[in-house]
Amino acid sequence: MRHTLDRLYNAAGVLAALFLVGTLLMVVLGVTGRLLHFHVPGTDSYAGYCMAAAGFLALAYTLQRGEHIRVTLLIEHLGPGVCRALELWSLGVATVLSGAFAYYSIRLSFQSWDFNDISTGNDATPLWLPQLSMAFGVTILFIAFVDNFVGELKGQRIRKAPAEAMHNE
């Protein structure tokens, strides 16, 4: 089970990275098209979809790397008992919120499909397709939060200090 979940997070992370490469390719394609006077319709929109997919699919992977930012000032300076209670509280809140977010993301994609929603840009993409990345990504994040919550409850969760996360901003 542990193994399967970790593989799920990592696979989604790698897929997200591929979408980041996709974002780059779309922007490059757009520029090349403009310079060499050929036109590929909708590269701007595709770049946006790729970026969204990169962000959403990496959510659980980033959580497992300990890179999502939170205020740890209190958690770090309290005794182990209070710290555990706070950790359970914030994991609980995160589970509920990501669960709701996942539900409404799936609903959005379904409604776009149901109403046959088409992008207003010149890419004319059926919107449910790119929106699937949000539905999948946030659902995997929800699974990861449930996973962490249960792990914390059983006392098996390893808290990760963001070691490499520091070279951001």
Binding site: A54, A58, M134, A165
Partner: protein
């Protein structure tokens, strides 16, 4: 219950969620949800999904993940070693000598990197051991590095400027160009401080070991060529108007890959780790932006920004007093929050006030970045302090104490840009396109 009371409750709820360690992006979304339920009849969940989807897939934002990736590639090259070798010979005669590699190194690297902590880490991994080996005092070395690292935010490309530009609907290309002169100004202030410090403490700076001739200096400068070409590619293409910020970011990624390849540091492992590092770093920012996008929508229904603007407008404050008050406010907020969260959290509320006071939003963007820079070096939450703590093993309070002069210089810079706004607006006015 009246609206003021509910608004207060929401703010309290926000700080409780943030303070108890709930992930920032989710905490913002949670408060937005409560606000939507209380103040509007629109279904909160559906509004959230649509709003977040719209902001996460918007074309303007695509510059952000690309610049993040570019920084991650350069972090894994020998760029900082090369820059040190190219710069060091030129600094022999200036008081404070090699201490200036911190400032100039960070200034140059900031022009290819969008983040302050990355700038600090990349330059520090070279200058800290080199300066220590040559006997430079540690306090001033670390203090100036912490300050100069923040230039990564002000000198374009800049992640936080993209975030501000998207939130405030200001041209990112113009913001980038507007940051150049204030960045150079700040670097000059830092270097000036080192010169004065070195003149006051003549014994603290180690003696010159070897002298180089002009020819040797010029020859050593060849190490600077790759980074200068990269800067010209990214900033030049924006300035002359051939590329948007996003396109310049794509050029930057390709240029960084090329540079890494010619140096021989590009292989499957570094490519993969830069890609994964960039993906998770972008994802971290994207989660905050998502929560903030929903919160901004909810704020519209709550009417908090409008009320705040009316209230502050009613006080009859002069814009100058407003700016001073905001500087203080952000400095305090920066003690607890990171820069991006600070900007996205407050912009939705404060922009109407700022606009009403007649302050130019382009100017305000640079101002915000400068204030966030100050927050980067104030404890207990200051990212550059964390980075330097990790690199040197010193206590965060020790580092913060030796960074105080840099903090004061930044405060002086805020005053300077207020009294001479042309420092910000001159270059953008010269640009070819808007």
């Amino acid at each position: 219950m009246n609206e003021a009371l509910i608004t207060t409750l929401l703010v309290v709820a926000l700080f409780l969620l943030l303070g108890s360690g709930v992930w920032i992006g989710l905490a913002l979304a949670g408060v937005a949800w409560i606000g939507m339920e209380l103040f509007s009849s629109r279904p909160a969940g559906d509004a959230m999904a649509v709003t977040i989807w719209g902001s996460a897939s918007s074309w303007t934002l695509t510059a952000l993940p690309l610049f993040v990736w570019m920084g991650e590639i350069l972090f894994r090259t020998r760029l900082s070693e090369d820059m040190f070798r190219g710069l060091a010979p030129w600094l022999e005669r200036i008081p404070g000598r090699l201490l200036h590699t911190n400032i100039i190194g960070c200034t140059i690297f900031a022009a290819v990197s969008g983040s302050s902590a990355a700038t600090c880490a990349t330059i520090g991994k070279m200058t800290l051991p080199e300066l220590k080996r040559r006997g430079y005092p540690e306090d001033i070395t670390i203090g100036t590095l912490a300050g100069a690292g923040t230039l990564g935010l002000l000198i374009p490309p800049s992640i936080i400027m993209i975030v501000y530009g998207v939130t405030a609907d200001v041209s990112i290309a113009q913001l980038f160009i507007a940051g150049v002169l204030p960045g150079v100004l700040l670097a000059t202030l830092f270097s000036g401080y080192i010169v004065i410090w070195a003149l006051v403490h003549p014994d603290a700076i180690p003696k010159i070991v070897e002298r180089t001739t002009l020819l040797q200096k010029l020859h050593a400068s060849r190490h600077l060529l790759p980074v200068i070409m990269l800067i010209a590619l990214v900033l030049g293409s924006i300035y002359v108007g051939v590329a948007t910020a996003t396109e310049a970011a794509a050029f930057g990624v390709l240029g960084a890959l090329l540079l890494s390849w010619t140096q021989g540091s590009l292989n499957r492992a570094t490519l993969f780790s830069s890609l994964m590092g960039a993906t998770s770093l972008y994802c971290m920012i994207a989660l905050i932006l998502s929560g903030a996008a929903f919160l901004t929508l909810a704020m519209g229904y709550i009417g908090l920004p409008r009320h705040l603007a009316e209230w502050i407008g009613g006080l009859g404050l002069s814009p100058f007093v407003l700016i001073i008050a905001l500087t203080g406010f952000y400095t305090v907020l920066g003690c607890f929050l990171d820069g991006i969260s600070m900007v996205v959290l407050t912009m939705g509320v404060i922009l109407p006030t700022v606009e009403k006071a007649g302050i130019d939003l382009l100017w305000f963007g640079v101002f915000i970045v400068l204030v966030v820079e100050m927050a980067q070096i104030t404890p207990p939450v200051g990212f550059n302090l964390f980075v330097l703590q990790g690199m040197t093993g010193k206590q965060i309070t020790w580092i913060a104490r030796h960074t105080v002069p840099m903090f004061l210089l930044m405060a002086a810079a805020v005053l300077l840009i207020w009294f001479v706004p042309d420092i910000i607006t001159f270059l953008p006015r010269q640009m070819k396109i808007g």
